[in-house]
């Protein structure tokens, strides 16, 4: 006589299905005894008393299904096991879905989609690392949306993936576009010959949208998670991403986007790029460019400039055209500055930038730290000072409302505008506010109806400031495309109709805000 235990991790069944399965098993003539229950400690204890607890079932948890049976031989055990899997499969299909695919574990997902090559993991951080390893062991690339994964685990996953020729995008990777499919927070962009590797989610969204809006397109956009370019991880996936794009026949130009990597990682990037024949553009916001100057990377100071350089290279145009275009943009912004600054009064001195995208917050700080020492932020970079109270602005204030301090127990501000809307009104009410700078990020994962949430507060600002006989310009960049579900053109036109100064990019919006402040000094 032998006892066999089958453990189905993460496969749960309601009592109807479970009893049906248990009944079917017990009705098999060769089954001497059996049970099919969830893996609670108490059920394990009952199985032990019943002589049905096997070593494998000892490891079951509450959300795992345990099936145990007694029979006379190995051959019978194989037959029973096969039958049980049939029962479970049938029950899974009939009881849990309404025609579409709803796998409850990686194993069951792979049964449904055996050819899948990427697993997107978005579960609590403490479980996500193990699930990611399981996916890698099954030969799947991984996009790890989850955060709160230890640095040690990240390194372990990335080293394992590298060894197996796989990718781990993340942890805390919010954006990627693989084979034309937008993953997580991503936009619907044209396909084309520009490949992106980014350790910055919003940065990736901005450059991919600007490229798409210019008429070019994206071959692949690989996110790595922000920690990848720091010393501990050493840029494992950032470097693998560059190599993959270098080998990809559909990629002709490579665009790198990141908050500043550590010098050690920058050196590795420079060395790798040196071996690549394809043109490479790099946007390393707030990084010291001394090291990069010596490389063959075309360095861009802003996300917009990076996208423009990539587009020019993709079209095999002279890069001087990019600088001509930026010059022309400068003239237009200067004209607009003259017009807008004339409407401001003497007390209006400060910029109040309220961002949902963290990378935009960094990029804008880069512009402003050059003009004043009185710049404050909740996520300061360079010479910018830390806000004493993140909920209250001081002088020039540039805030990332997507930072953890603002999002505890709340949706991200790209989805839910309520926190920012309250802050917009508070800033409008401050007589020292000269300009309010905002970002709106469209695409999958973001607020599906941004206008319904932002327009009322803009109207309120106009009413409020008009009562106080002031005018506060609202400058806003809209990151998105025509093909996004929210439609960038519609959003931009509606904001413009409400008097908002809508800019093509965050860089342009920041420049306009900066010129206005400079004009007021």
């Amino acid at each position: 006589m032998m006892v066999t235990g089958i453990l189905k991790r993460g496969e749960y069944f309601d009592s109807v299905s479970l009893m049906l399965i248990a009944k079917k098993i017990s009705e098999l003539e060769i089954v001497l005894d059996s049970a099919a229950v969830m893996g609670t400690p108490e059920n394990k204890s009952l199985l032990q008393i019943s002589g049905l607890l096997t070593d494998e079932l000892q490891n079951a948890s509450d959300m795992d299904l345990m099936v145990a049976y007694k029979c006379n031989s190995q051959n019978e055990s194989h037959l029973i096991s096969k039958k049980i899997n049939e029962f479970l499969k049938k029950s899974d299909n009939t009881n849990k879905s309404s025609g579409s695919l709803n796998p409850s574990s990686l194993e069951s997902a792979l049964k449904i989609l055996p050819d899948a090559n990427l697993a997107m993991i978005s579960i609590a951080g403490k479980y996500a690392g193990d699930e990611a390893m399981k996916a890698l062991q099954n030969g799947l690339n991984v996009m790890l949306f989850s955060d709160n994964i230890s640095i040690e685990k990240e390194i372990e996953l990335k080293n394992y993936a590298k060894e197996k020729g796989l990718f781990v995008m993340g942890p805390d990777c919010g954006t990627a576009i693989i084979n034309g499919v937008p993953l997580a927070f991503a936009n619907v962009v044209n396909r084309g010959n520009i490949g992106i590797v980014a350790a910055s989610g919003t940065g990736l969204q901005e450059v991919s949208c600007l490229i798409s809006n210019s008429g070019c397109g994206i071959s692949q956009a690989i996110g790595t998670g922000g920690r990848d370019v720091k010393n501990e991880v050493g840029g494992i996936m950032f470097l693998e991403g560059i190599k993959a794009l270098a080998e990809d026949k559909n990629t002709e130009v490579i665009l790198l986007v990141s908050k500043p990597p550590t010098d050690e990682v920058i050196i590795k990037i420079i060395e790798l790029v040196h071996k690549i024949e394809k043109p490479v553009v790099g946007v390393f916001l707030n990084a010291s460019i001394d090291l990069l100057k010596q490389s063959k990377i075309n360095i861009a100071k802003t996300l917009e400039e990076g996208a423009m350089l990539a587009v020019a290279l993709s079209r095999r145009e002279n890069l001087e055209t990019v600088y001509d275009d930026l010059e022309s943009q400068f003239s237009k912004l200067q004209t607009l500055t003259e017009k807008e600054s004339a409407k401001l009064n003497k007390t209006q001195k400060y910029v109040r930038a309220l961002f949902s995208g963290g990378t935009f917050c960094d990029e804008t700080q880069m512009f402003f730290q050059k003009i004043s020492e009185e710049i404050f932020s909740n996520t300061p970079v360079g010479t910018v000072k830390k806000l004493k109270d993140i909920w209250k602005s001081e002088k020039h204030t540039i805030v990332d409302l997507g930072d953890d301090d603002f999002t505890v127990g709340k949706p991200h501000p790209m989805i839910d505008y309520s926190t920012r809307n309250k802050r917009i009104l508070a800033e409008a009410n401050d007589p020292e506010t000269a300009v309010i700078l905002l970002d709106i990020v469209l695409g999958y994962g973001s607020n599906m109806n941004p206008l319904a949430d932002i327009i009322p507060v803009i109207k309120e600002v106009k009413k409020l400031t008009s009562q106080q006989k002031r005018y506060v310009p609202i400058i806003c960049s809209v990151t998105g495309t025509e093909k996004d579900p929210q439609n960038r053109t519609t959003v931009a036109a509606s904001l413009t109709a409400e008097g908002v100064l809508v800019m093509e990019s965050n860089a342009a919006a920041s420049k306009l805000a900066k010129y206005l402040i400079e004009k007021k000094r």
């Binding site: 109807v16 969830m38 108490e42 059920n43 509450d62 849990k96 949706p411 989805i415 839910d416 309520s418």
Partner: protein, 286 residues
């Protein structure tokens, strides 16, 4: 477009991910908190959001905020008029009728529930349906637990049955939930204070299964899902026909979950209401 039919009075703000899926029920979880997105046929509850116009199989993400929720990115405001009240309201009731109605409920439970439910505690002949060694041990545990409960050794009884049985919410936990609901109802009927006992039972029953814990917590707080609330209301104020109908509705919840909760409730009431006087008078089972 999502149509909101009802939303629970114990929803907690947060970003929720799918915990488990069934037809017309998607259980969302955020840490230890749960929200159940359900169709009309499932009905209201303290942590339910009842909706129409959604493809349940496509639901992936839920965000609950102060005055609205976002389901797969679609924003829906909570309208106060659609707030579900999970508390049972007790006004005047007829004690004799109440006992009669409990008898009707017991009969309805036995006649309508699955052979594998805990109704073997009401009708001993049903024990013959439990044949495998696991099932025999399961029955033996319950018999021992009932002995503990009848000698007021509640915590020992809870330890014997918590986490055992079939389904995502094991039968033992369903029984304990029903028992906690009974204590809450008796508090209202008799104006007695069982809060310490309720708290101790809940603490003893709580385990690693966050899903089961959510049901136990609701029961501890006297927060009722509408199938159970309607049943209790019918036992307090209606008659046999309505009790039969409400019992059948309750039993339709899972193969045994509804019935097992019902058995726990019935046991809790008969054991504790009016110090179990009716129980001893008529020498009833348990």
């Amino acid at each position: 477009m999502i149509k909101l039919l009802s939303f629970g009075d114990h929803l907690e703000k947060g970003i929720y991910k799918v915990h488990s899926r069934f037809i017309e029920v998607i259980n969302f979880c955020s840490g230890g908190s749960f929200v159940f997105i359900v169709g009309r046929s499932i009905g209201g509850g303290p942590i339910n959001i009842v909706v129409e116009g959604v493809n349940f199989s496509e639901l992936e993400e839920l965000i609950i905020d102060e005055d609205h929720f976002l389901l797969n990115g679609e924003k829906v405001f909570f309208e106060t008029s659609k707030k579900y009240d999970s508390k049972i309201k007790v006004t005047d009731f007829d004690e004799e009728k109440f006992w009669q109605n409990l008898d009707h409920f017991e009969k309805a439970l036995i006649e309508n529930s699955s052979d594998n439910s805990l109704t073997f505690l009401l009708d001993g002949s049903r024990k013959k349906n439990f044949k495998s060694s696991y099932e025999i041990e399961f029955v033996r545990r319950f018999d021992s637990a009932i002995e503990c409960f009848t000698s007021s050794n509640y915590l020992e009884g809870v330890k014997l049955i918590k986490g055992i049985g079939f389904g995502l919410t094991p039968s033992g936990d369903d029984f304990i939930s029903g028992f906690l609901i009974a204590l809450n109802v008796i508090q209202k009927l008799e104006k007695v204070d069982y809060s310490n006992l309720i708290a101790h039972i809940y603490e003893a029953a709580k385990g690693n299964n966050v899903f089961t814990n959510a049901f136990l917590l609701a029961a501890k707080n006297g927060s009722l899902f509408d199938k159970f609330k309607n049943l209790i209301h019918s036992i307090l104020y209606s008659g046999q026909i309505e009790i039969l109908e409400k019992t059948r509705t309750l039993i339709s919840f899972g193969e045994t979950s509804g019935a097992d909760q019902g058995v726990g409730f019935l046991f809790g009431i008969k054991r504790n209401f009016n110090d179990g006087n009716r129980n001893s008078e008529k020498g009833r089972i348990f």
